[in-house]
């Protein structure tokens, strides 16, 4: 499985992103794109295989280190957490609760793609096979 960085097609991010910049964005230290547009960071749950792979292979840190850093920001008032998209279980539960049609199992990567595609300035990550024309892939330098 290959994990790639995905951004909203309108995000002023160019075609490639430096690893340092990516690390600053997911560390919630860099909050705006170069033209000043706010960056909206989406992540999958800590234990999600794609999240684990993104942390370890793309950013070179362990998921527990990011969790520690985000918690420090949130509970000391010095920053904000990234937006976590729903887990598969929650998506299932949500869909199972809707009346009428048979529930469709929707993976949280679909949710990630939809949120990145639908939010101005958004950045997230997906396994390569999930990429479609609704999001733009950034190469990591």
């Amino acid at each position: 499985m290959e994990v790639v960085v995905a951004v909203n097609p309108a995000a002023p991010a160019g075609e490639a992103i430096a690893r340092n910049t990516l690390s600053a964005i997911f560390g919630m230290r860099l909050r705006a794109w170069e033209n000043g547009t706010p960056i909206r960071v989406f992540v999958l749950p800590d234990n999600h295989a794609v999240h684990v792979m993104f942390c370890k292979q793309v950013l070179g840190v362990f998921p527990h280190q990011y969790r520690t850093a985000w918690d420090r920001l949130v509970y000391s008032g010095t920053g904000q957490a990234p937006l976590e998209v729903a887990t598969e279980e929650e998506m299932r539960a949500r869909l199972a609760g809707t009346r009428g049609e048979a529930p469709v199992v929707v993976g949280s990567e679909e949710e990630m793609r939809a949120r990145v595609a639908g939010t101005a300035g958004a950045i997230g990550y997906l396994s390569r096979k999930m990429i479609d024309e609704s999001v733009t892939v950034l190469a990591v330098e």
Partner: protein
């Protein structure tokens, strides 16, 4: 002793209900506005007449609850407002009164991928060691009870947060990252616990904070596997007597200047952490014999954490705290004052286990073998200090929910 009906375990039930029925993600009420919080309920059972967080010796105590809610708003990328309220029950020393933990405005003047410079105004959390920034949030602690060598519960009010200005700067490069936080602050000294911690008794007058300073410099390797920090504090407090000596203390001054060295190594499945503090305390002007002193305390711990799988985690720690390096076993103080020598130190072996039920619900159990010393016991929970014993044990359980 309060046989309060609130000791009935409805808090744990609430935590469980929230955790299982509301596996909520952080609330983003509108763009840039987030709400987070936590709720923890602890159970403490101790031995040998030593009470920790309530009457914990017979049947244990549920007098330990931590509740916090915060809101943050980022109207523009370089501006953040954040506020957090807390309510904490911890035996006789904290009875759940709401407190304003932080309320600040954060302005980032420079933000690039490898540099950040800014300032926070208002009530800010004190950057102190590795765990103080979020010490009330069970999810961020390594154990139910933080290592008392560095994060003594009795000095919590002094260490937690205060009003002032905090400058911060971060620089990232190929050789690693440097982060500095530094500023003048007014600590929260006007409360009974701070008076007991600084003056060892509740006297008629009041403590008054003077402008104090706190600073922390942290270095981490590029991927933050190794983190090294040094924290320096200069905490100055005046005592304003209400009555004339000898019915009250004299108009004394307390100067507390701890320096803390911190180190942590993070691997994927384990972390090794150690912190060491030297804590000089100087009292002058109190007039009362024995109150004007100049002593140096010393404390340290070493701790290993092993993450077995995403659900289970274990912790082992050795934790030592001396209030006076010239009287480590307290015998000089005992000879001079008649007070039990074990009031002056604490040595604690801890083993604990954490189980992540869901990402937002967590349970913990731990055992402490305090093989000497009672320095972190609250006098309010142990009104007869002569009834306390040198060697004792703690068994603790905790259930915590966060969003």
């Amino acid at each position: 002793m309060r046989g309060r009906p609130s000791n009935l375990p409805w808090w744990p039930a609430l935590v469980l209900w929230l955790g299982l029925c509301r596996p909520a993600l952080a609330l983003e009420l509108f763009e840039g506005f987030q709400v987070h919080g936590f709720l923890s309920q602890g159970y403490f059972l101790t031995s040998n007449h030593n009470n920790l967080f309530g009457q914990s010796t017979r049947g244990g105590s549920l007098d330990f609850t931590e509740i916090g809610v915060n809101a943050s708003w980022v109207p523009r990328p370089n501006l953040q407002f954040a506020v957090q309220g807390l309510s904490r029950r911890a035996g006789e020393a904290a009875e759940g009164e709401p407190e304003l933990d932080f309320a600040l405005l954060d302005y980032t003047a420079v933000a690039t991928e490898d540099r950040r410079i800014g300032v926070r105004f208002g009530r800010v959390r004190f950057p102190f060691g590795l765990y103080n920034d979020t010490r009330d949030v069970a999810f961020t602690r390594p154990s139910i009870l933080l290592p008392q060598s560095i994060y003594n519960e009795r000095t919590r009010e002094l260490a937690i947060s205060g009003d002032g200005i905090m400058l911060y700067g971060e620089e990232r490069s190929t050789w690693g990252n440097l982060a500095l936080e530094l500023g003048p602050v007014l600590a929260r000294v006007d409360n009974e616990n701070s008076e007991l911690a600084l003056l060892f008794g509740d006297f008629p007058g009041d403590l008054e904070n003077r402008w104090s300073f706190i600073g922390r410099l942290m270095y981490s390797t590029p991927r933050e596997a190794l983190r090294l920090a040094v924290t320096g504090v200069r905490l100055e407090t005046d005592y304003n007597p209400r009555l004339a000596f000898p019915d009250d203390l004299g108009p004394g001054k307390d100067l507390f200047e701890p320096v803390i060295f911190s180190a942590q190594y993070n691997a994927e499945s384990w972390s090794l952490t150690g912190e060491y503090a030297r804590r000089p305390i100087k009292h002058e002007g109190f007039l009362e014999p024995g109150f004007d002193f100049d002593i140096v305390g010393e404390s340290y711990y070493i701790q290993g954490i092993y993450r077995i799988d995403p659900h289970w985690e274990m912790v082992v720690r050795y934790d030592v705290l001396y209030s006076d390096v010239d009287d480590r076993d307290g015998t000089k103080t005992e000879a001079a004052t008649g007070l039990p020598s074990h009031l002056l130190f604490a040595k604690d072996w801890t083993v604990g286990v954490r189980y992540n039920i869901t990402p937002s619900l967590m349970a913990r159990a731990e055992y402490h073998n305090v093989y000497g010393g009672t320095l972190f016991l609250f006098p309010q929970d142990n009104p007869d200090i002569f009834a306390t014993e040198k060697k004792w044990d703690i068994f603790a359980l905790l259930l915590s929910y966060r969003f």
